[in-house]
Symmetry: C2
Subunit: 447 residues, 2 copies
């Protein structure tokens, strides 16, 4: 039976309504994949049974092998992998969360989206993989495969990069790496993958303190920033310096942000002081916030009320009226100086003084806000389609509820619009992507 | 009548249940403070009436004066201030949000906390002041006075620093500045304030793009990073480089974070990969994540289960059990290498696989989580009191609802515990505070 699930535990007869079997050998049907959640010392027996049962693969959630530094446990790890290899059984782990494959209904944490997507994540940390799925999931991203591979006694990072490069469901590969096994193979696998798909890499343990933690976590040895940066440059991969970068770059390469061709940014966001700090952030990221061209200013002035607003860039339209917002967005997107427009959707925001109360959690406003979300996303998507200029949504954590913010992000992402929580992060993602494109000279253009 | 409110509008007879008067002169009682929300061209008439009515102060929300660059409006601004000065009436603005003084029940945005606190904010942007009150309000901070002073035709930044330095309700002063009027007076006022109270300054418009936006917003001219940094150093003020810094430093100086004396940081947080990236972030901030001393390790090992956990620093106790968490926190805080402990509270977090579902918004868990919040805050506060080591709460945006996260932050803050959303921001706030302390040689020690 496809998708059949067989709990195995000698002390139980039923687990959440499923019949529980005393050992793997007692399960009635052929078994494809075994998930080992038992202590390390019980693993050799399980492996013998798996061989007898002719399973195809095992995921060892089980920890306590070579990563402990205990020589006996390292020896047992070797013995286990030797037996599995001889029997042709592939292994994920040990010491890892294993597989999230939504199309096969396999997941390793609660709250993972049920529907599949186009991003593959390769991770030497289950917790970080979980944060990526949860965090990017809220921003609309969906996954083809996520693999936390732990000690990598059989399936290693390079195998997974090779898989991702060939997998038709995977359009983007991202990875969290602490140490490198088989350096040359890894380099070649990343290089081959990065030729054909965007590859986004985050390396943990680049500082002394981080390297100590990585050694304690996965037994990995220290790397250096210079070497890792060179690896990214030579393979054509994007380098994420932080977990935020990884999230933000995945959003960039799976939305219209990837079509940004130059450094000219327009920002439409209310609040003069916010505009000033945002301008500083955009400049600090190395992008250009050019003055609005005269012709665009003239057209904007026909629509935007004068006092307390600005038609300069940043444009401070200071209005939640949909028609005005739509016209402003279109005119700004049409201006020849602007390669990308960053704009705030106008649902649930504080407007001018005297606007309705926007305290979070006011249920009465929910329905109106749902409609505003729909209108905002449509406006962004239409502007993008009409003008050819990518539009990025800035979703500040201000007055909408988390549910509303999530609803906007999901709907915007489905329409090809990337959402960022701050101007600084949106600008940095764009700048990192532009730099990556510049560095890829000689490699195939992916977008 | 104290707190009496008199709407004035010739076209209305009632506003939200309050009697509305055709002109200021028609109001029945003496008036202390006038808030002008009328167009600029109508202001001279209002000013004449205010003089006749013998009011004490006016706040001009009204924009459209000198900041427009229109010479006639600049002249009108001068005329208005001339008349007010002659009559002894103080003015805030024009072109600003004015006053938030919770003790006097005056506020300029919805959702501002009703109860007063000890932080004064001086701002050349109403929107930024609003973001500070809302954002820091969620983290528990309360305010004595917040003043958005706009064009500053009468009351200017230096007046407000002088006021803040002397105000007994104000223990901390923070400011968002775009341009400087009366540079020498401003320098002296900041210097005098920073001698006696922590002063946290953020300057907008330090890049070319930011300076253009500042000119458009408040007519301010460009500053330079070097000059502003020198001002902070010479006056003994703390420099915030971003709005996040400003928020994080206010939290630092109003909680136990201000008692941190050295660079030794301990981190208690689950997830091996998260520990690695956090270690990198702490090292990048210039702090030390020292290995756990052997004696502390020995004591920890008595309590912490072995597999998948770490007694090294970061400590990955990987357990939501309150007793274990309490013991771990105490032992780590007692270790002589640790000047501060950053720890995650254990409510609503993902625990080991198999732990209860932690999808956000599950109402059934609310009550249990409220109790976990109470227990967590108590644990942090007790540990701090018993060991003398400041404890900082790391509140990642993962599985608790916003309401629960806000509840934790409020309760933690009242207990003297600062909360930060990421390890990087907590580490940066600590590092900036330590640097400020080092730079204050020769000035009085504030804490």
């Amino acid at each position: 039976e496809k998708g059949g699930l067989y709990p195995v535990n000698p002390k139980m007869t039923e687990v959440r309504g499923l019949r529980c079997y005393p050992t793997l050998l007692d399960t009635p049907d052929p078994v494809d994949h075994v998930i080992s959640l038992i202590p390390a010392r019980a693993v050799p027996t399980l492996v013998d049974q798996a061989i007898q049962k002719k399973v195809r693969s095992i995921h060892f959630f089980t920890a306590g092998f070579s990563e402990t530094g205990d020589p006996e446990m390292a020896r047992m790890e070797q013995e286990v992998i030797g037996k599995l290899k001889a029997a042709g059984i592939r292994a994920v782990g040990p010491n890892c969360m294993g597989l999230y494959v939504p199309s096969e209904r396999i997941a390793f944490m609660n709250g993972f989206p049920g529907e599949p997507g186009n991003v593959m994540m390769i991770s030497q940390s289950g917790a970080n993989a979980g944060d990526v799925v949860h965090g990017l999931g809220r921003r609309g991203v969906r996954f083809s495969k996520v693999v936390s591979f732990g000690n990598g006694i059989d399936i290693r990072a390079h195998d997974l990069f090779e898989y991702g490069a060939a997998d038709p469901q995977t359009e983007v590969i991202t990875a969290y790496i602490e140490g490198v096994q088989d350096g040359r193979k890894m380099f070649e696998a990343i290089k081959a993958a990065a030729r054909v798909k965007p590859v986004i890499l985050l390396k943990g343990g680049l500082t002394g303190a981080g390297a100590r933690a990585a050694h304690s976590h996965t037994g990995s040895l220290a790397g250096s920033t210079e070497i890792f940066d060179a690896l990214c440059r030579q393979t054509g991969a994007m380098r994420a310096e932080t977990m935020d970068d990884l999230h933000d770059l995945v959003v960039a390469v799976t939305t219209s942000v990837r079509r940004v061709r130059g450094r000219g940014v327009a920002l439409i966001a209310g609040g003069g002081g916010f505009a000033v700090l945002s301008s500083d952030a955009i400049a600090a990221a190395g992008l250009d916030l050019l003055p609005t061209p005269e012709e665009t200013k003239r057209l904007l002035r026909e629509y935007i009320p004068m006092a307390g607003t600005s038609v300069n860039n940043p444009i401070d339209a200071n209005s939640a009226a949909p028609d005005l917002a739509r016209t402003t967005l279109r005119l700004v997107a049409q201006a020849p100086t602007n390669d990308v427009v960053i704009a705030s959707p106008s649902f649930g925001q504080r407007g001018l003084p005297g606007a309705p109360d926007t305290t979070p959690g006011d249920d009465e406003r929910d329905e109106r806000i749902q409609e505003q979300i729909r209108v905002s996303v449509e406006m962004f998507a239409e502007t993008q389609a009409e003008t050819g200029t990518p539009v990025v949504a800035l979703l500040r954590d201000r007055s909408a509820s988390r549910k509303q913010m999530d609803a906007f992000q999901q709907e915007a992402y489905r329409a090809g619009i990337g959402t960022y929580p701050t101007v600084a992060r949106a600008a940095r993602a764009i700048a990192l992507m532009l730099r990556w494109r510049e560095r890829r000279t000689g490699l195939p253009t992916l977008f």
